[in-house]
Symmetry: D2
Subunit: 380 residues, 4 copies
């Protein structure tokens, strides 16, 4: 451990994502001992002094800050990890880039395409290392899907479909805004399920199936008013509760996407399926260790969807963990992203998805929202 | 048996649907002995004399015809069952109605909305009994879904999604047109998957979730030219290979529909899911005896999707068959529709879906095709 | 139809099995038109005159009898189908054989091994065609399993496990004996789940994996007394409610079997799994169209259990029914057995399982019951 | 962190289990911040100096030892964690107890019942805190099963069945003995699958369903000779490759157990099912976040097995991790056991299973092996 190079982390935000990222930093060296870099939990920053101190105590950060500008100005910090609400991503990232810090930014990159473009410009100008936490790329089963697709086994692609279904906002009594509920506040979040859920589907889709050419979308806000936690008043809900779209991919395949927080019975069901000429693949987050695979080349009498339990040492990332048959979970995706980021420091290669790559997802999200608003197709 | 009233059937067409309907007629009295009507296989009609005679011999039709106009003119026929290709539905139905025959018409009702309107007008003018074979309504699990939804258990509906996925036309070597492949010929079929597959999804959706208000669709023809079986030449493929749309239902819920014959790995996967405020339901044709049901009212620690094996005597139609746990299959849906049609003769009630009801599905199909062509939303 | 040879059926018993067999006879010519024999429903026999007449009327039997000896004496009957309770199998079969009738006997062959031996002797002496209705061999997925195993794909076999789980006798208020409940009466049934359920598991096991060498078993009767329907009194329950055993097969593999009517949540869950050196197979009756198959020869990164939807034309029996993806059900197994019996009349080959083959299952059942009673291993 | 009481760990063995336990120690304070104790990785011990040093470097142990007696003698160690092969458990545990150390012992407790009794005696005499790592009790879904059963929802229990199926020793080329393969060596392991796999099934069974009264078992060694890694020679294989048994539980229910390393297609499939009068539960390790639950009290038309995704905050341990729908994995069971052990230091309650409780499992294992050897029932 001691002869590894330190990567001194400054984390901004100590909510749910602050926990997942921190856990990633803390575990990576145990499971990826060959890496020459190791993260050090230098500082965590959040406006609420008590809360940030408690977080630092629990997780072992060496120091705390309550002003992110101070954090960025510190010269004992190598990398800024942005886990603050979406409305702060752009300002922080641009400042951090200007200060020459590496940046690991929680998804979605920004609230709007305009913000995202400014961020990418800032990163590129500064030439700093960067990545965006579209963590689901690094579920071993999803990485395996990428590997299978890239091998050409699927042949020409005809269809891609994905959805992200939740049900946690069905109650009209749930307020909007404030600490745990900023995702329901248009100002903080920028959008509803589009940026929160659909952005994951889009990121994976582009990664697996290439760019999207045009989209036709619809959005809906089922509950029109909710009490706002910060004002204590009933206020109009301006986020989208559900967002659906179909599209053409550049490779000629058709896409179908749906996200909602009103699908009773689904806690966090992110699924995708891709159908090629020769083979098909599907996956869902609720059973994340499994990949379903259909290969038309199998003998016809014994042809069927295979349920692959992706826990073997020759499958992505799994030689780092346990033995065949023993599952890993959600949090491991962040460990993998940290590992790949550290590796990218060694190799000089980018750590996907970079800000530049995440911008593609942002463009699709923007087009989706505009398409829904105008009830018309939008080109990307 | 002998004191039942005969319903003398004249079947037009002896392809795949001719078999399923005939089996329905032959089985119904064994399993629904309480009915006062019984079907009699009076005549079957098809242009090819040898083929129709062989069909009659195999299935036990008393006579054959090669001209459907002759069949309709016979006074020993009570009901005309139309299993001919889609391009013949309108002409036959209008003539049969004029001749005062009851009509059982295979779906889709017609190739176009215009044809369908003429058919409905003819039926209404003649006042003859009629039904359209949207058979999937009568899978016991689907009928049970209807019963649960009508009981109000789901509460306000937010989402409905359905797809019908097949993979049998992926090979570019498959020809179009002619006997077994008329579904790939625009002139015979009127459309591709829209009328063949999506129409099923739409019929069920309207039945379960009410009318559709507007649609935004896309279609695709992946393979542009195929050899035509009748001409022996490569000809342009004009049907849609895939059709997707999203929509608003009149009840405010959002719909998402997809059908294709290019989804490798799916033979005939018709699925639907409906998400309500309090409960959700899903079903798929590949495992048609099962209904998935999620009830948010269950105790939270033991809440989950239930897999209901719909084979008990208190579930729809199942008191007619075997004992709990023992499955029925695809063909039983036709037996059920025959039983319900015979029952409707006793009660004087209509047998859903009637031509009038099937017209609603036709309107949506028409709007879907127009929306795809114009790349714009269409009201129903 | 008219130039087929008639096989004139005399059915004894008109309960649940009377219905399934009759349906088999009535449907076979529709779906297996190439057969040169066709069943004719000549007579049905049962002690209750009204009941048997109603059955005949519903299903179309030409005549009725109330004395099975009279039926057997009729010279217009070619084959006797025994659907009476188990305690009548031996007497009827022996008499029918003596009368030179073909015999189709519902399983289990007999109540005891002694009875079964007498039956086999009688059959062999008479030289009459015979078969026993172990219908699950003819689920297409199960027949496919046989085909795969016989191809050698599994290699050396290590394990075979099967169970048949039901839950319909859990209530202590359920009476025993009499018409619908003779299976709970030791005199009528001979045993409880051993002959009723486990016999199916054993028949399939021997067919797929060869003979059983020795067994160690246990049985249990959970509810000790039940009201008897015929006497109206509480009487001791003497059947086995549950029966479990492990065994060696002759091929060196280990077997594990379980049957019960006290497995809450299972209506009629018959499952088996066979593990070989190179591949494994599993199946369950609740989803009878599916066969699960694991092939270790698949590329390691995409290796997994395949869920085969056994509905394609190149899979056993399925070219007779519908199109890929469309399910058949429980009743079809009887149609298949009738078809194979008729075919065996053409070819002169036996129709498995014959009485001789069913005797093997009877031997295992006997050993199982003796092993449980003596708490010791028993050789077959 | 700093005001917590240290629990100074001395780990013996740095193989697979060394990793899982260490990870448990390292993560517990992050996720269970309320605990007043915190583990400190004081020392790790293994005979191979280089290997143990590498392990210490990777995982952050403060020091290393190569002689476990030296480790036990150190007064800066509070607790000894035994991850050495089974043949060392007894000697180490007895010495550690004598030295007054707390003991956390990997399962199975010992190779034989005699060894286990000596260990329990030593522990009790010394009065030291102890626990055995039957980690599967602490899969949240399994803990939830315990909670449901204890609530009485299942009513009288009729059946319990469990199996643990693997396929990693099918190749005859796999050697036995030595570092990674000591589980195949009778001297090191004491038994084959009985102690390795079946012991897990038995521990869970006793915990959920109470004590076992008597057993009838069989074992098999499929491959009779394997090259021994330490001698380089072909040697007789003396472990059991497969072990099956049935049994009576003290509560009158019947048990059925199976374990093997020759079930092609199963990596580490540990499943159990329990059937009660009113409800049933089943679980499998390959999809460890799910619990299947059937409640007969559900309305009959919507009754079915529920698939519960055990990831909600009101389900066992899950308020410590992420949000509903997001899975945890295998390794978390060890974190939970560490947490419960630390909690037991606060409360003074034992941390189940204690040595005394694990002795019950050992008794069953011993009876199973004796029953198989003698081909007779054995009382526990």
């Amino acid at each position: 451990m001691t002869n590894k190079t330190e990567l001194r982390i400054g984390l901004i935000g100590c909510g749910f994502m602050g926990r997942t990222h921190t856990n990633g930093y803390k575990r990576v060296s145990d499971f990826f001992p060959e890496l020459t870099y190791r993260p050090v939990l230098k500082a965590v920053c959040s406006r609420n002094k008590d809360k940030v101190q408690a977080f630092a105590d629990q997780w072992g950060y060496e120091s705390v800050e309550t002003d992110w500008k101070v954090l960025i100005a510190r010269d004992d910090i190598d990398a800024i990890d942005i886990c603050a609400p979406n409305n702060m991503h752009a300002e922080i990232a641009i400042a951090a880039a200007a200060a020459g810090k590496m940046i690991l930014c929680e998804k979605p990159l920004a609230r709007t395409l305009d913000e995202a473009v400014l961020m990418v410009n800032a990163i590129e100008k500064a030439g700093v290392k960067n990545t965006v936490w579209y963590n689901y790329r690094r579920v071993p089963a999803v990485t395996l899907a990428k590997q299978i697709i890239d091998s050409g086994k699927l042949g020409k692609i005809f269809h891609y479909r994905a959805n992200f279904l939740q049900d946690w906002t069905i109650s009209a009594d749930l307020p909007q805004g404030g600490e745990a509920l900023w995702r329901l506040d248009i100002d903080a979040a920028g959008s509803g399920v589009t940026g929160d859920l659909l952005a994951h589907c889009i990121d994976t889709a582009i990664w697996l199936n290439g760019g999207i050419k045009d989209v036709s979308a619809m959005t809906e806000t089922f509950i029109k008013e909710r009490m706002h936690q910060l004002t204590g008043k009933m206020e109009k809900v301006e986020i989208d509760d559900a967002c659906l779209f179909h599209c053409h991919f550049n490779n000629g395949s058709l896409g179908l996407f749906e996200s909602t927080r009103y699908a009773r019975g689904h806690k966090a069901l992110y699924t995708f399926e891709i159908n090629g000429e020769h083979a098909s693949i599907r996956w869902d987050l609720h059973d994340l260790n499994r990949l379903e695979y259909f290969d038309h080349a199998d003998d016809s009498i014994v042809r069927g969807w295979r349920s692959i339990h992706v826990t073997d040492g020759d499958q992505p990332y799994m030689n780092k963990w346990w033995v065949p048959g023993l599952s890993i979970g959600y949090e491991h995706t962040f460990v993998h992203q940290v590992a790949d980021f550290l590796k990218s420091l060694e190799t000089g290669e980018p750590c996907s998805p970079t800000f530049q790559e995440a911008l593609e997802t942002q463009k699709v999200c923007q087009a989706v929202i505009e398409s829904a608003a105008s009830r018309s197709w939008k080109d990307i």
